[in-house]
Symmetry: C2
Subunit: 177 residues, 2 copies
Amino acid sequence: MARERKIDMVILGLLSHEDLTGYDIKKRIDGAISFFWKGSFGNIYPALKDMEDQELITKKDISSSGREKIAYHITRRGKKVLGDWLKDEQASNELRYETLLKLFFGGVQDKKVSVRNIEVFEEQVRGDLELLKEYAKTLKNSLDDEDHLYFYLTVTFGIDSYEAYLKWCAKAKKLLA
Amino acid sequence: MARERKIDMVILGLLSHEDLTGYDIKKRIDGAISFFWKGSFGNIYPALKDMEDQELITKKDISSSGREKIAYHITRRGKKVLGDWLKDEQASNELRYETLLKLFFGGVQDKKVSVRNIEVFEEQVRGDLELLKEYAKTLKNSLDDEDHLYFYLTVTFGIDSYEAYLKWCAKAKKLLA
DNA sequence: ATTTGATATATCTGTTTGATATATTAGCAC
DNA sequence: GTGCTAATATATCAAACAGATATATCAAAT
């Protein structure tokens, strides 16, 4: 069965706004998107090749002098595929938190080890939360721009859940003390 | 570079409590652990083979009549590896939420599509939250049992974040209305 | 002049996912 | 007791993904 390759949708989504090179796409994914989805050169470049074969995107050589540069543009077929995916109600939402895994098996070690693991997690979250709050502050004043609105929604998702994480951290440390 | 295979740690963690077959391990992972980590036969069975070669686990044939059955037991070396992983402070915590991806690119479609995607997410979360609350209710009365305590902590993490998700869903739908 | 870091391409190895294949056993309906 | 179905139990395969690496250009600072 030909499984649906999710990276295709990420790329089509990005290309629906502007033409981009593979490298640009990677940078965009590493930005705000990375809070809820990741991508690597190892799947971006093959996906671009495949999608060009399927005529979901077209490429244009925009090399300047020695530097090779290929920009990709979404086709009508590509927009159709993106739209169908958006309208498809099923969505896989997965957490992959090594910290929780370590906590689950925490009984193997001294409680201090678990407390320390929670503290490390707490620091990570605190840092990311600050970043997200910066985003939110900037976006909040331009929610009439539709793209900003959708971006803002994903950012507030991050803020709300990270704040819940921090509250949990405090409770968890107390229970282990 | 020999990357650390996370499924190894899940398996060692489970085997640190009791001897299990590959099938048992899969069932355990599909239970409460699946909220924060997944596993499949496709990586469990190869991992068991490798870890036996590395003498982190030993196998024992417990077949009865025709049915082939192999139980695995953790070795001292295995316990060492598990302990080292628990003490290692670095941990990768990743969200992979297709719903947020769809929302991020929501501008491509009518707002109703995004609202519907949030509603579907909301239903998923509500269902999982109920399950987690069941777990919590049972565990809460036996927190002096260390294993229950650690299990309880991961469960409350789920409850707290899912409750934050639901609040966000309400806000997000309002903003899109 | 040179070194560093960012840009830009692409591939490789290993890991994980999801589906499939194969066969046994237990429980239930008829 | 026969046949059906679901659960048990093994294992493999293709596709997708992650992370590292290779190669080379370009811009900017030293």
